[in-house]
């Protein structure tokens, strides 16, 4: 409880107004904590623009979404035509719709790059675990948002994409079919499904998303930003308690981010005006055909941002399950022989490995495909505890770590490419290798991230004035 502060006698009218507000709402306090006196490391580089860009895209999506809802009809018999009506008859409707559809893809491009930045510089390491976890929550909410939004145009891809994803839930043993029924609200994807997805897409998930974004930023501003050197700038402060390597977010990084936003908007508007379909990747051609429950298009693939995970789902067949059993067996034996556990620990490990193999064989490969796909996202939440390297930033890790990241990114892109292609035997084998590498990267991280010779981490951030 602050005591009432009187404005100085010579204060101007705006100063008096601000004083009046500050006594009733912490306006100056909030401004200082998050902008004016939020000290961010001075050595931010290119990779640090994507957080601000993600906020910009979120605003674009919310504003365009509000205007789309004014003309859209969430009814299976009217939805497809109402989207075409927006495109053809509503003044300016086409650009609002293209901004929204391009925005969805832009959102994922920005978020993937934002996450990759975190991976490069160890931004999820202590004390930023919650920043990362809220961020993963945002990623998950975004996937739900994108998936449910994609049903709304009620095209062929909307319909069959939803059919496939809802049926994923039906693969859960015992409760699956009932769960899928609860999601669809009908025995097939239909009007009931469209209506509830509309409700989730326009109100429920955005509310969760906004809450998580607020939590993400509050947590970040509590612990302070990481930087490309992975050094805690708060460890070295001047006499006033301000980090020596920190600069106030405003004006330094607001300018940085406004510049980035200008470049981003040039690219974004170029796509909106000249390639709004993104070559069939942002808006799939089959989605210009109205949903037909009796006919699946000859080639169906999810939108590009889901394809890496979709590839992993497709890769999980009986062969993959058998290989997984073998991997589990080898891991169990290695753990028993090399793990240095006591007799009880070894017994527990052996039992766990056997139970694992039995479960793998007991349920359909279909269920495990769903587990692999879900696990690929969920595993991200555990990253802060998987990475045990001595330096946060890639800059001071052994040089070969960069190649590990390179292989990881390469196979993530390959999985993404294959997920957009029709199924093939060769593609499937490559996806299986990619799936193993993806999970190997994370699950073996506690070991490989500590190996090699680390470089000395400097006391202060490396920064050359420009």
């Amino acid at each position: 409880m602050a005591t009432y502060k009187e404005a100085p006698p010579d204060a101007t009218a705006p100063q008096k107004l601000l004083n009046w507000v500050d006594n009733r709402f912490p306006l100056s306090k909030l401004y200082n904590e998050h902008l004016g006196e939020y000290y961010a490391p001075k050595n931010f580089n290119f990779w640090y623009i994507f957080g601000a860009l993600a906020m910009l895209v979120l605003v674009i999506q919310i504003v365009t979404g509000i205007f789309l809802v004014m003309h859209y009809k969430p009814d299976a018999s009217l939805a497809f035509a109402s989207v075409e009506y927006i495109m053809r008859d509503v003044p300016g409707g086409w650009i609002i719709r293209y901004m929204h559809s391009t925005g969805a893809s832009a959102f994922f491009i920005v978020i993937y790059l934002h996450m990759f930045r975190g991976l490069l510089y160890g931004s999820y390491r202590k004390p930023r675990e919650l920043v990362w976890i809220f961020g993963c929550g945002i990623f998950l909410a975004l996937m739900a948002e994108a998936f449910m939004g994609y049903l709304l145009p009620w095209g062929q891809m909307s319909y069959w994409g939803a059919q496939v994803i809802v049926n994923l839930f039906a693969a859960v043993p015992f409760v699956g079919p009932d769960l899928a029924l609860l999601i669809r609200g009908d025995y097939v994807v239909g009007d009931a499904t469209l209506n509830r997805f509309f409700s989730f897409h326009v109100i429920a998930v955005p509310l969760v998303l906004l809450g998580l974004v607020a939590a993400h930023i509050i947590a970040l501003h509590e612990v302070g930003s990481n930087n490309p050197d992975g050094i805690e700038i708060k460890a070295k402060k001047d006499a006033r308690g301000i980090p020596l390597d920190g600069i106030p977010f405003h004006p330094f990084y607001t300018v940085h981010d406004i510049f980035a936003a200008s470049i981003f908007l040039m690219i974004f508007t170029a796509v909106v005006f000249f390639a709004p379909e993104g070559g069939g990747y942002f808006l799939e051609y089959n989605n210009y055909i109205e949903a037909n429950p009796l006919k699946t298009p000859a080639h169906i693939a999810p939108v590009w941002y889901f394809t890496p995970f979709y590839s992993m789902l497709r890769a999980t067949n009986d062969l993959m399950v058998n290989v997984l059993c073998a991997v589990l067996g080898v891991a169990g034996v290695l753990g028993i022989v090399k793990g240095g556990f006591g007799a009880k620990g070894k017994l527990a490990l052996a039992i766990a490995a056997i139970v694992g193999v039995v479960l793998l064989k007991a349920f359909d490969a279909k269920f495990w495909g769903v587990v692999v796909m879900g696990g690929a996202v969920i595993i991200l939440f555990f990253l802060p505890w998987l990475d045990r390297s001595l330096s946060k930033s890639i800059r001071y890790r052994p040089s070969w770590h960069a190649y590990v990241y390179g292989v990881f990114v390469f196979f993530f892109l390959v999985l993404g490419y294959l997920g957009a292609q029709p199924p093939s035997d060769v593609g499937n084998y490559v996806s299986q290798i990619g799936t193993f590498l993806y999970f190997g990267f994370f699950l073996l991280m506690p070991w490989w991230s500590r190996m090699g010779t680390f470089k000395p981490v400097p006391d202060r951030v490396t920064f050359a004035a420009h």
């Binding site: 069959w160 059919q163 496939v164 994803i165 809802v166 049926n167 994923l168 039906a170 693969a171 029924l181 609860l182 999601i183 669809r184 609200g185 009908d186 025995y187 097939v188 239909g190 009931a192 509830r196 429950p293 009796l294 006919k295 699946t296 298009p297 000859a298 080639h299 169906i300 789902l313 497709r314 999980t316 067949n317 009986d318 062969l319 359909d364 490969a365 279909k366 495909g369 029709p422 199924p423 093939s424 499937n428």
Partner: protein, 199 residues
């Protein structure tokens, strides 16, 4: 605020009222969760449909809608029927033994999974994730299919393959054969789907 003495009687009541409140919230959630279920109108839909197969020539397929799903009726050629026993070794469940009560009614538990050998009636929904497989009746090598392809169906979503009796091939994402819906013949050329003579 910093009084170390805790009034345990008061605390017990706080916990008790908290629990009572939680129970109340639980009951209040029932109608909301319940509203996710299919509505009465959705439950009522799903009547049996009739199909006239007099115009269906050998090797042709027709599709009728039953409960919002595509039901395929295919008049198989003698060559296609002759291929069925040959692929048994490549199939995951050639004898329709998995989940027979859900997938294969008693009268269809045979090599061709049909009442009349030549007329196949199946729900055209892949048992993997619910896509509708495409027709690949022509035997031989073609994209996404093995060179020894004997004719059947290919699911475009995840590459599951089925033979001309809707039986799934081994080592594919789909675990089960295509569902044979309850059906019966009203006459030689008229079929009803969704109803059968209950034994």
């Amino acid at each position: 605020m910093s009084d170390p003495k805790i009034d345990s009687g008061k605390r017990t009541w706080i916990i008790a009222s908290g629990c009572a409140g939680a129970v109340g919230v639980g009951f209040a959630a029932v109608p909301f969760v319940g509203s996710f279920q299919p509505s009465e109108r959705a439950r009522a839909a799903g009547a049996a449909v009739e199909a006239d197969i007099s115009a269906l020539k050998p090797g042709e397929k027709m599709t009728v809608e039953w409960r919002g799903k595509p039901v395929w009726i295919i008049r198989r050629t003698p060559e296609q029927l002759a291929e069925l026993p040959k692929v048994d070794g490549l199939l995951a469940d050639p004898k329709s033994a998995r989940k027979p009560d859900e997938l294969t009614p008693l009268y269809a538990r045979n090599e061709g999974r049909s009442i009349k050998p030549e007329v196949l009636v199946v729900v055209g929904i892949c048992s993997h994730l619910g896509c509708s497989p495409s027709d690949k009746f022509t035997p031989g090598a073609q994209p996404s299919l093995p060179d020894t392809w004997a004719g059947g169906f290919l699911c475009p979503c995840h590459g599951s393959t089925f033979d001309m009796a809707g039986r799934v091939y081994k080592n594919k994402p789909a675990p089960d054969n295509l569902e044979v819906p309850p059906h019966m013949y009203l006459s030689d050329t008229r079929l009803i789907i969704g109803e059968d003579k209950k034994a």
